[in-house]
């Protein structure tokens, strides 16, 4: 589903991503882990063609990431998601549905279903300016799952959510995983990652340090957090 081949991204003298290669199989729930500034968000941006790699290539479903068609069945949730303040949550979801070329009735059905799924019934017509950060994040996730994408790219999806919200998002992700959706998760919440994901990669200073099944990375008596600290500290 996702293939990165010798991807390097340089910003002047800074190397944000250094010769990274890995693959994520269809139906896999994958977590990209690393400390702040490790290059996780840069990789996500390159996957979505928000920024181009200096060298190397990325492809999604066999299509190069530079082609707009590869984003036909991708859902994306940005870290600290924003929604135009002049829109309501419903308007925003409808707009995202229209951009996916869904028909009006189909779009409305999907929006109703998603509003229910993200637990925002009764609040969807309120202007975004009155939403909390967590509510905006929920609508962002709702927009990401619009059109039942095959691949979900989530950059810190639980950012700004309270513990109950985090739990609800985890349950949602588990249900998506159960439907065979490929999930690319970029998160700091290692305990949540350990519960949801099958495979994980750890990067630090742009270099890929580990990429394996979580069951193989985490030894007996260890947690993913222990592994993360051990690997990052070298």
């Amino acid at each position: 589903m996702i293939v990165l081949k010798n991807v390097t991204k340089r910003y002047d003298s800074l190397t944000a991503v250094d010769d990274v290669s890995f693959t994520v199989k269809a139906g896999e729930c994958f977590a990209l882990l690393g400390p702040n500034g490790a290059g996780k968000t840069t990789i996500v941006k390159m996957l979505l063609d928000f920024t181009r790699p200096t060298t190397g290539s990325l492809s999604l479903g066999g299509i190069p990431s530079t082609h707009a068609e590869c984003r036909t069945s991708i859902g994306y949730l940005a870290e600290n998601h924003h929604i135009p303040s002049c829109l309501s949550g419903w308007n925003y979801l409808m707009r995202c549905a229209e951009l996916l070329d869904l028909g009006r009735s189909d779009a409305m059905d999907q929006c109703r279903r998603i509003v229910e799924l993200i637990g925002m019934q009764g609040r969807e017509q309120t202007k975004v300016g009155a939403y909390s950060k967590g509510m905006i994040q929920r609508f962002g996730l709702g927009a990401a799952i619009m059109g039942d994408p095959k691949l979900l790219i989530l950059d810190e999806p639980t950012s700004g959510l309270d513990p109950i919200g985090i739990r609800e998002i985890r349950q949602l992700l588990e249900s998506f995983k159960g439907k065979g959706m490929t999930i690319f998760l970029n998160s700091h919440l290692l305990s949540e990652v350990e519960k949801i994901c099958d495979t994980a990669a750890i990067i630090n200073r742009g270099k890929l340090l580990v990429k394996d099944a979580i069951a193989d990375i985490v030894k007996d008596g260890e947690t993913l957090e222990d592994v993360f600290v051990r690997v990052v500290r070298g």
């Binding site: 941006k45 590869c70 991708i74 940005a78 924003h82 707009r95 951009l99 996916l100």
Partner: protein
């Protein structure tokens, strides 16, 4: 199939651009103030004006005033279009709409085309309504419908396309306010240069200038080249106003400003697409 999808994507971006701009209070306030100003000018139509000791007839006054108003609206809406354009990309970026749109199967050029066309249509409609109000007032005062006025308004919208594309391009290269001021500067220099050129061709100026040998070829200087290559926004306005007065065209020199501005739109548009293609989406 692919073409219809492309058109559909651009049409959606156009729609969102127009809807988002109209939703902003500042746009509504600007529109209401402009419409009120145009209505206030109506009061000047009924005044008595004296030139060289002779009263002007009301028809001449109305025609002259409507032409002045036509110019003022054209220039005013160009400034408004520049103001609306300068924050277009930044606002979409800050409000998350840019990443929302580009994470969908929308190509970058489709997004840019939709934004530019949307703003051009909106500012064009803004100008057309204001010109329409003046046309209505003039038609009622003269008891004569002047459809040329509306055709002239449509022709003037080419200037708006130039302003929108130029500000959008420059806003990717420099701070928004500098982009706005730069395009404003280009417009002012063009208008002043055309004013000086028109004054230098007047009978008084010709009489004051020393007579040159008619057999000599006119000298080609660098500033003459710059003058002719400079965006002819004022020229397009003049061309449009000549439609109102049903003046006859005088060959290439009459349509040159239109060709000049359209060429600029094409060149700047290509540069805008190229620049945005390499832009990092934050």
């Amino acid at each position: 199939m692919k073409t219809s999808k492309t058109v559909s994507h651009i049409a959606k971006i156009v729609k969102y651009t127009i809807v988002d701009e109209v939703r902003h209070k500042s746009f509504v306030v600007m529109f209401v103030i402009s419409a009120i100003c145009v209505f206030i000018i109506r009061g000047c139509y009924g005044g008595n004006y004296m030139v060289n000791g002779q009263y002007l007839d009301s028809g001449t006054v109305i025609r002259a005033l409507s032409k002045v108003t036509f110019y003022m609206i054209g220039v005013g809406v160009m400034v408004i279009a520049a103001l609306l354009s300068m924050q277009l990309f930044r606002r979409d970026r800050n409000e998350g709409m840019l990443s929302s749109v580009l994470s969908k199967p929308i190509a970058r050029w489709q997004y840019v085309a939709g934004k530019a066309i949307g703003l051009w249509l909106l500012s064009g409609l803004f100008m057309f309504i204001l010109h329409g109000i003046v046309c209505l007032i003039t038609s009622i005062s003269l008891k004569l419908f002047m459809p040329e006025y509306l055709v002239a308004s449509l022709l003037c919208s080419v200037n708006l396309l130039f302003v929108v594309i130029a500000v959008l391009l420059l806003s990717l290269l420099m701070p928004d306010i500098v982009a706005f001021l730069s395009v404003l500067g280009i417009g002012i220099v063009g208008f002043v240069a055309d004013g000086i050129a028109a004054a230098s061709h007047s009978q008084i100026a010709q009489a004051m200038m020393p007579q040159s040998d008619p057999l000599l070829q006119p000298e080609l200087t660098w500033w003459k080249v710059v003058y002719h290559v400079w965006p002819k926004l004022s020229g397009v306005q003049q061309m449009a106003s000549s439609l109102i007065e049903s003046e006859s065209f005088h060959g290439f020199s009459t349509i040159y400003p239109l060709i000049n501005v359209l060429l600029y739109c094409l060149i700047l548009g290509a540069l805008l697409f190229k620049r945005f293609r390499n832009e990092d989406i934050v």
